[in-house]
């Protein structure tokens, strides 16, 4: 099962670069935590950094960059499920803010 994709991927140098990038991105998240911004802005910034981190890990540590078919398979299924879960946000906002016409 030693697939060609694993062997064709870059060497240790690339792994080290990805590792350093991940550490730097994790560091950025910690810096964002101390910024003087509101919670939703903090959430947005941290989420963007986390998605970039996850992308790097998926592409290079988990070798998705070497297999186009598998990459789309994983991406489509995972993103579709995660997007499907987002239907509740308006309701959670309604719970704390009330319905707009009640104000």
């Amino acid at each position: 099962m030693a697939t060609a994709d694993t062997h064709n991927s870059g060497g240790m140098t690339r792994d080290l670069i990805v590792y350093v990038c991940l550490l730097a991105l994790a560091g950025i998240q910690f810096v964002i935590a101390y910024q003087d911004i509101n919670t939703s802005q903090m959430f947005e910034r941290m989420l963007i950094v986390a998605i970039v981190e996850a992308g790097l890990a998926l592409l290079f540590f988990m070798h998705l960059s070497d297999n186009r078919g598998l990459r789309w398979f994983v991406l489509i299924f995972t993103v579709a499920v995660i997007f499907g879960m987002q239907y509740g946000w308006p309701d959670s906002s309604r719970l704390i803010n009330g319905v707009p016409w009640a104000r």
């Binding site: 099962m1 030693a2 697939t3 792994d15 910690f30 101390y34 989420l47 890990a57 719970l95």
Partner: protein, 211 residues
């Protein structure tokens, strides 16, 4: 009609059909594909937990921010990220045929996992000592503690399972029962555990940091 006739008429022969039916999906071997399917399913589980946490946090006024220091979680993050690199080294060594090196780096990865789990439990003990339990929270809504212990507990469960898998696979690899591909599949799982942590840290820890 013979197979040759079928081929002549532009249809697929039996041997070609068998080859198509048994060929690995996306050229990914079965064991690796099974792990990917597990990862997709498990990412939906974690996403469900994090979305439920987000929903609750958004809908609850005066959500507590009990974390005063990020030192412990920063160390935990560093250890887990580094363990992904050591796992990569182990897989590369295994593919290169260096059995001793692969075994050594697998064990280093497992030790990093154990260290992570110890720090995690230490943090839990600190919170429990302050009065936080699954159904009680001294800083306000008990939903905070429920969410915190559930999400981090689920992740810790994955880490623990990963440590057991790493040690078992490493031992069997050294004994010659497993090959380098089994290390690669275990590595996929370990990277996934690391990937989930990248979302747990900002959402569960950093957003609840007291300023």
């Amino acid at each position: 009609m013979s197979q040759a006739d079928l081929s002549i008429h532009g249809q697929v022969s039996r041997s070609e059909a068998t080859e198509i039916m048994t060929a690995p999906t996306f050229h990914v071997p079965a064991k690796k594909m099974a792990m990917w399917l597990f990862i997709i399913a498990d990412s939906a589980t974690f996403a469900g937990c994090l979305v439920a946490y987000g929903f609750t946090r958004n809908a609850t006024p005066n959500w507590p921010r009990p974390f005063h220091s990020i030192t412990n979680v920063a160390i935990m993050t560093f250890i887990l990220l580094s363990s992904s690199l050591t796992m990569m080294i182990a897989v590369r060594a295994a593919h290169a045929g260096d059995k001793a090196k692969a075994f050594l780096w697998m064990m280093i990865t497992a030790v990093a996992g154990i260290l992570f789990a110890i720090l995690h439990i230490r943090e839990w003990m600190g919170l429990i000592a302050e009065g936080a339990t699954l159904f009680h929270n001294p800083w306000g809504t008990p939903l905070f503690s429920s969410m915190f212990f559930s999400i981090t507990g689920l992740h810790l469960l994955h880490v623990t399972g990963g440590i057991v898998a790493l040690i078992a696979v490493a031992l069997r690899y050294q004994g010659g029962r497993y090959g380098s591909d089994d290390l690669e599949v275990t590595g996929l799982y370990w990277h996934f555990v690391d990937l989930v942590w990248m979302f747990v840290v900002p959402l569960v820890y950093l957003l609840n940091l007291s300023h």
